[in-house]
Symmetry: C2
Subunit: 316 residues, 2 copies
């Protein structure tokens, strides 16, 4: 049978998978990125892992390879233009990996691959206009309209985290103040809890992390929420509300059929998306909300790999 | 020579034009819409006007007709789904007009036609990703990506005027509070001036309209601005700032090469777009702003007609 290789390159780990034509994962492998070794080190390690993985499913003949890379990617020329957390600048990744594997390689931005996977084989399946966001260490967005990814000028489309918003006081690493990314992502949720605890706000989180809050994560805020903690509830409510305010113009402008939410913080589910939906219903015209499906990503763990593989299928 | 008919149907007037293949206007005619006479009355009047107009340029052989209609339009089936200010509900306009004229007729939303005209033959020419807004009696938006109009779910994409924004106190006709449309359009600018005068705010506009402010327009606010009037300056500054806040997420998400601004209030120029640009530069990440051209529409008077004609060219 025909298959496709999907690769999701992150700052810490690389995940590789062999994916069938209709999006089923036939095999997966994970390895440390070791970005500090340089991009040739990374590509030769990834190529070796892919070769080993392909050997485990000898009945599958892989036709092409898709790769999701963080940062700006020139998918047309196969260049990783800028990936800050990998230290990559204008890396000809597609050619390099193709040379190793002897297969056509297509690269793209990792968030686009994640949302493409959801659009084709996940929560966006059978929807014509898909708007997706990922809430991980940061927040990012991607759109798939009529089965086509939207790129924008300089392949830069998809940022929803970096514009100043009234009601957000934090300075962002990007240099602006009030960016949605400072609160509406896994890191942002944890950060709000840490700062509130530092200001002495009472919370069960203060008991759990009495000595040191540096290890506190969004998952802990979720746990505290479920324990009825008022601070955790306030954080989820505020984060959901601000997320809705950032999304409102995007929804009105593009009119998606479905809003897919992925990334680690999506596991907060209705604790976060309940307040988000309430604010959307309060501020977005009903004609957009009535037909809008809001769904957590179906493939929270492997959408990036599946998306990369199915993207390769679309390009080959 | 080959030409195309472009028709822009408004609540008050209909403008018809004969347009060459490269977007030059070869003849124009304007007539009252007389919407109260019903859609068959309107279409037979429009058809007659088009026939007369075609007779004035006998050297032009018209290949198709494009029509811009307000409200929701199903351009695939040629149906004017809902045009409140014309009283139209599910009108088979394309077939009806085609029967009258014996030519293929393609209809679409009027703002999309306006921005399409700008994208193909105006301020967006030679740009790949065009985001356009019109500031007229209301505010609306349309996008042309890679030469293709974006429609969204239910053909509803393009609304930028109806979502609640912090900092806008007004109730909107749509039922929401804080909609950008209540301030950022020709009517909204005039409205802000009228309400400030009613509250006794000093302004040269109070001298010009001492008896009755009902006739005050955005053009008067522009005149007052040029006379150094502080109220007019505050209104332009506030309107530009709020416009930028509505646009910021849209710019980050879609990353346009060019933002085209049309409609009557676009004539305010830098009085309005200076403060808008300042707020965009303060709140939108520089990577989006550096490459972004912001331009007033080149064809403020006839973009709708030209766009409709060139849209017909693209469909035929």
């Amino acid at each position: 049978m025909i298959g496709y290789v999907g690769i999701d390159i992150g700052g810490t780990n690389v995940v590789c998978g062999i994916v069938s034509e209709n999006g089923d994962v036939l095999g997966m492998a994970k390895l440390a990125t070791e970005a500090q070794g340089g991009f040739q080190h990374v590509t030769s390690r990834v190529a070796e892992a892919v070769r080993q993985l392909m050997a485990t499913v000898p009945e599958v003949s892989c036709a092409a390879v898709g790769v999701g890379v963080p940062g700006f990617v020139d998918h047309e020329r196969g260049i990783a233009v800028k990936a800050v957390n990998l230290g990559w600048d204008n890396i000809p990744l597609a050619d390099e990996l193709s040379r190793h594997l002897g297969l056509p390689v297509y690269i793209n931005n990792d968030v686009r691959m994640y949302i493409y996977g959801e659009a084709v084989a996940g929560a966006g399946k059978n929807h014509r206009y898909v708007l997706g966001i990922t809430l991980g260490t940061g927040i990012a967005a991607a759109s798939v309209f009529n089965g086509e990814l939207h790129y924008g000028s300089g392949f830069r489309a998809g940022e929803l985290g970096h514009f100043g918003m009234p009601g957000i006081p934090y300075k962002c690493v990007c240099g602006l103040t009030g960016c949605l990314e400072t609160i509406a992502c896994a890191n942002g949720i944890a950060r709000q809890a840490r700062e509130a605890l530092a200001e002495g706000e009472p919370s069960v989180l203060g008991e759990w992390f009495s000595a040191d809050t540096s290890g506190l994560t969004a998952a802990d805020v979720t746990r505290a929420y479920d324990a009825g903690d008022p601070l955790a509830q306030r954080i989820m409510s505020h984060t959901g509300t601000m997320l809705a305010r950032g999304l409102a113009p995007a929804i009105s402008l593009t009119s998606p059929d479905v809003l897919v939410i992925g990334g680690g913080a999506a596991k907060a589910g209705d604790r976060l998306f309940g307040p988000m939906r309430e604010e959307l219903e309060r501020t977005v015209h009903p004609m957009y909300m009535e037909g809008l499906t809001i769904s957590v990503a179906h493939r929270l763990e492997d959408a990036g790999v599946v998306g990369s593989a199915l993207y390769a299928r679309s390009r080959v």
